[in-house]
């Protein structure tokens, strides 16, 4: 078991590695059912990107996907985060509650993949709700099957990253199957849980019109999807890949042009999605 540390400073673009070297492997990691402790990469307090109003974003570590364009490869492994108590996280959060409420904001847990540490994140989300905050997670949905209804009941919003509409492209981009994510999306639709679908537009990887159309038509009928957000690929994470000696396939990929972003947005809109 890792030594208990302090929540550390940082934004999603700060490199943190190996803070808890003794952490278990995330693919074998099983929650203890209590979630009193967990691994946290960093947190920000002033995001306007990750949900309504002003968000505190808690980045937890541990992810099973290996997206080739990931801007946070230093959140893939639990050991890259600091081992902290849920209580410490909740106390930090508490200091911001009055301000977040007057800013119509709330808590968003991102990562990494929040559902890798299901019990830990559930405990924090429940505490946030208890303090009257709006709650959200940003997830790939890959572990959606493991999120029970009790978990989902702690959420006011799911930011669901569907990284591709085409299964083959999905596998190339993430190294995993698309099906669990689609299943999760359908389950959320069936229960009417508010969702913002996020699609990362990576030129040469996810920008194929057929790929976009497949996703657009999958999402379009879902009444619970409030927004489809196109997230343009950027290079702010490149330095992390280099620092971690990882092979980075997108060194030569440029951020999508405004024309490309526009084309994709229009594709979503044409299918009937509310896209931005």
């Amino acid at each position: 078991m890792s030594q208990l540390g302090e929540l550390i400073a940082g934004s999603r673009y700060d490199l943190h590695t190996g803070l808890s070297p003794d952490a278990p492997d995330e693919s074998e990691f099983h929650d203890d059912g209590k979630g009193a402790f967990g691994y946290v990469h960093s947190y920000e307090t002033s995001s306007r990107y990750d949900g309504p109003g002003l968000r505190i974003v808690l980045f937890v570590s541990g992810c099973l996907l290996r997206c080739t364009y990931c801007h946070n490869p230093d959140t893939w492994h639990l050991k890259d985060g600091t081992y902290v108590s849920a209580e410490q996280v909740i106390n930090r959060l508490r200091a911001f509650v009055p301000a977040l409420r007057s800013l119509d904001g709330g808590l968003t847990i991102s990562g990494g993949e929040p559902m890798v540490q299901r019990d830990f994140t559930r405990r924090i989300l429940a505490a946030a709700k208890g303090m009257g905050l709006h709650t959200a997670i940003e997830t790939s949905g890959f572990l959606g099957d493991q999120a029970d209804d009790k978990y989902l009941s702690q959420l006011d919003l799911v930011l669901l990253d569907i990284k591709s509409g085409d299964a083959e492209t999905y596998r190339r981009a993430t190294s995993r199957d698309l099906a669990p994510t689609l299943r999760f999306a359908e389950r959320l639709a069936a229960m009417g849980k508010p969702v913002w679908v996020r699609f990362t537009l990576v030129p040469g990887l996810t920008d194929d019109p057929a790929n976009v159309d497949a996703l657009a038509h999958f999402v379009a009928p879902m009444k619970n999807v409030e927004w489809v957000e196109i997230q343009p690929f950027h290079q702010l994470g490149e330095f992390k890949w280099k620092a971690m000696n990882l092979e980075y396939r997108h060194a030569d990929t440029s951020p999508p042009s405004p024309e490309l972003i526009n084309r994709v947005r229009e594709q979503f809109r044409a299918a009937g999605c509310r896209a931005r």
Partner: protein, 758 residues
């Protein structure tokens, strides 16, 4: 009297005051009463605003070559022969046919005047730096026949104060130039006319004729006599510009002109570091509303008055020295004007002229001066809040201060001197005192009073800390004693300065536009708050090892041990360190309060550095928080660059914890945000920003400089200054033209935390 022959004084007042709601303001000098009885609050939006007039554009075009040349050459012209005073220069014009509001500091625009009463050395160094010759006659007069404020102060300074000045633990003291930070109530000239003000002063004088001539009474009598002479000279200066300001202003044009002439008089008489205008927009709006109703003025004419007055306020110039510019970069003069705020009955003081004042930033382009300050209240009209944010977004030229926090202290007719110093207009003044370097004080505590750079003994010798690892309790005990010494020395120096300033460089006109019996504050200040708070936090929450040179002087620090990577740092809404910062503010204030002040002034304190955070940093060695020798401090009350790593909300909640009751001279905080490029609409962004301001101020925040500009733009402006002549950016408490900063200061601004999108 000229221009008003045949009319009795009462009849003149009646004509000037037609249709105003009566009240006590008619019987005694009481501008505040006039405003609250006559102001027309406006809660609509900005759609009524209009473009600049042809005349405004013509004057502005005439001024452009001056701005351009000045940027290339620096000081364009100086009258080195004529010490400045109200009647030192004949009337000067820019473009007489098109100038609606007239009056220049000298006889030509951009020609600077000299103020040797403050100190001859400052004048001569300034002239030399600007490439002009000093005048032998002025030199003779101020060495042989006339003593200056500067001479007086140095006669009274002690060797200890001189050492503190030299080491830089006390810096920026107004001992060689005008202290500024005094706001004449320039509106009085418009509302009452000079004659009436002279009568009031004569009455104030007569009241103390029977009083036993103690030092204070004799001084007051002399000052009142000087004030009356200044008012007479002001009237004569008005005549030079063909304005009969002896009588009250009778329409909006005269009211603006009279008010400006009174301000002009002040800047002819004093070269203070900060020469605020006060709070004129909503006052003058009363006259504008009356003219609009009478059909004597239209919106274009109303905006023209503001545009042309602001043009004048943008070309105020003083001769400064290079040292001075290093402290106060960008040639500022803080012609601070307040807009907004609420009155004591809960009515908004936002008028259409509040909008017109802000609109000058659109009509004339962004600019640092006048230093427009929005007095923010959560009760301000929503449309006005939104407009302010919109102007900030386009110009980065506004600062915001918390009216809901200040109103209980200062009422509803206060102005802001310089950046953040509130004072009741016409009823309060301050003795300005720059600031001490609290980080250096901590290092002196560790080193037994020796300077960490020179090794010289500056403070009285005390046992230095000799342990390898700093012990929190030992450091605190020694630091407390060192602060005790510093506070005493500081008050001592300030008493000397202001005694001499009153004696040799008294602001007779500005004080003539005050009541006789006023509240005087003595404004102390601290720099390096975030450095000290983080240093103490490191000592408390981790192990800080001392590195000493061969003379035993502590010159560097290494933080180690468990917790070294997670030392709580100020700026992250973390009480473990924020409470240290708040405690420091209170502690130093308490120590300052122990020592009596000149003229029984009330002690106040600011957490404000202007741009001197760079100079202070340069003069300060390595500090226990890991800051390197020479590295700039965080400006004002800001966290150190880059340490407030959790976003602006966390950062501003930390700053909001500093106690205003122990920092009544202001707490300055600067936030830079990049324009949001994501999917939010302008409307949503402005909405978010309005809520952010409400939240920050509701949490007790005092001040916010808001910059909306991205790093890339600033970097480009460093390389290509010609492309960005008007790029304005707010630093601690005021705005500057970015391209007028030194490269070092530009780099500092760029390295300041950018907090993403607000």
């Amino acid at each position: 009297m000229e221009g008003s022959a045949g009319l009795s004084k009462a009849a003149k007042d009646e004509r000037s005051w037609r249709n105003f709601n009566p009240g006590p303001w008619r019987d005694s000098i009481d501008v505040r009463d006039f405003i609250v009885r006559n102001v027309t609050p406006y809660s609509g939006d900005e759609k009524f605003l209009v473009a600049p007039s042809q005349r405004t554009k013509a004057v502005w075009a005439k001024l452009q070559p001056y701005f351009k040349n000045e940027q290339k050459k620096g000081v364009l012209a100086v009258d080195a022969k004529t010490p400045s005073h109200l009647l030192a220069h004949k009337a000067g014009y820019i473009d007489r046919d098109n100038e609606v509001i007239v009056g220049l500091q000298t006889d030509e625009p951009f020609k600077r005047a000299i103020f040797p009463y403050g100190g001859l050395r400052m004048v001569e160094n300034g002239l030399k730096a600007a490439g002009f010759d000093a005048d032998p006659q002025v030199h003779e007069a101020f060495t042989k026949y006339r003593k200056s404020h500067n001479d007086g102060v140095f006669d009274a300074y002690t060797p200890e104060i001189m050492r503190c000045r030299k080491s830089g633990i006390i810096t920026g003291l107004p001992d060689a130039y005008g202290r500024g930070r005094i706001i004449g109530d320039y509106r009085r000239v418009a509302l009452y006319g000079v004659d009436r003000l002279i009568e009031a002063k004569q009455a104030e004088r007569a009241q103390i004729d029977d009083m036993w001539p103690s030092d204070e009474i004799i001084r007051q009598r002399e000052e009142l006599s000087d004030q009356i002479r200044a008012l007479k000279d002001l009237a004569a200066m008005g005549e030079l510009y063909e304005c009969d300001i002896r009588r009250p202003a009778s329409d909006a044009h005269e009211a603006v002109q009279w008010t400006y002439l009174a301000y002009l008089g002040a800047i002819k008489e004093a070269n203070g570091a900060a020469m605020s205008v006060g709070r004129i927009s909503s006052f003058l709006d009363v006259y504008i509303e009356r003219d609009l109703k009478e059909g004597a003025l239209d919106e274009a004419g109303a905006q023209e008055l503001w545009d042309q007055m602001v043009q004048k306020l943008r070309i105020v110039r003083f001769l400064r020295t290079p040292d001075y510019d290093a402290l106060f970069s960008g040639d500022p003069y803080w012609a601070t004007e307040c807009v907004g705020g609420m009155d004591l009955d809960g009515q908004s003081l936002v008028t259409k002229s509040s909008y017109r004042m802000l609109h000058t930033l659109t009509n004339l382009g962004p600019a640092p001066e006048p230093n427009i300050t929005v007095l923010w209240s959560k009760h301000l009209p929503e449309a006005f809040k939104r407009y302010c944010i919109d102007v900030s977004k386009r110009t980065s030229s506004l600062q915001y201060e918390n009216d809901d926090l200040m109103r209980p202290f200062w009422g509803d007719d206060y102005g802001i001197a310089c950046c953040v110093s509130a004072m009741k207009l016409g009823k309060q003044m301050q003795f300005f005192g720059a600031r001490v370097n609290l980080a250096k004080c901590l290092l002196y505590a560790i080193n037994g009073g020796r300077d960490e750079i020179s090794g010289d003994q500056i403070a009285p010798a005390a046992p230095a800390i000799t342990s390898d690892i700093l012990d929190y309790d030992e450091v605190m005990e020694k630091f407390d004693r060192m602060m005790e010494w510093l506070a005493r020395t500081y008050v001592h120096a300030m008493n000397c300065i202001h005694y001499m300033h009153d004696k040799y460089f008294y602001e007779r006109l500005e004080m003539a536009l005050h009541d006789r019996d006023i509240l005087r504050t003595m404004a102390f200040g601290i720099a390096g708050l975030s450095v000290v708070a983080d240093s103490l936090s490191a000592i408390k929450h981790a192990k800080v090892r001392v590195i000493r040179d061969d003379t035993g002087l502590a010159v560097d620090y290494v933080t180690e041990g468990p917790g070294a990577n997670s030392v709580p740092q100020y700026g992250n809404n973390d009480d473990r360190v924020d409470s240290i910062a708040a405690h420091l503010v209170t502690t130093f204030m308490q120590k300052i309060r122990k020592h009596p002040t000149y003229r029984n002034a009330t002690h106040t304190q600011s957490v404000l550095t202007i741009t001197s955070n760079v100079v202070y940093g340069k003069a300060t060695g390595n500090t226990p928080d890991g800051r390197r020798k020479g590295e700039p401090f965080g400006p004002g009350a800001n966290p150190m660059h880059g340490r407030d790593s959790h976003g602006w909300l966390a950062s501003c909640l930390s700053v909001a914890k500093l106690p205003y009751k122990d920092s009544q001279d202001g707490i300055s905080y600067t936030v830079s945000v990049a324009p949001q490029k994501a999917h939010l609409s302008d409307d949503e962004l402005i909405d978010g920003a309005v809520k952010a301001f409400d939240t920050y101020f509701e949490h007790g925040g005092f001040h916010m400089n808001l910059n909306v500009v991205d790093k890339e733009t600033l970097q480009d402006a460093m390389k290509n200054p010609d492309k960005y002549p008007q790029l304005t950016i707010r630093v601690s408490g005021y705005a500057v033209n970015f391209v007028r900063l030194t490269p070092e200061q530009q780099q500092d601004v760029i390295s300041r935390t950018f907090h993403g999108a607000i």
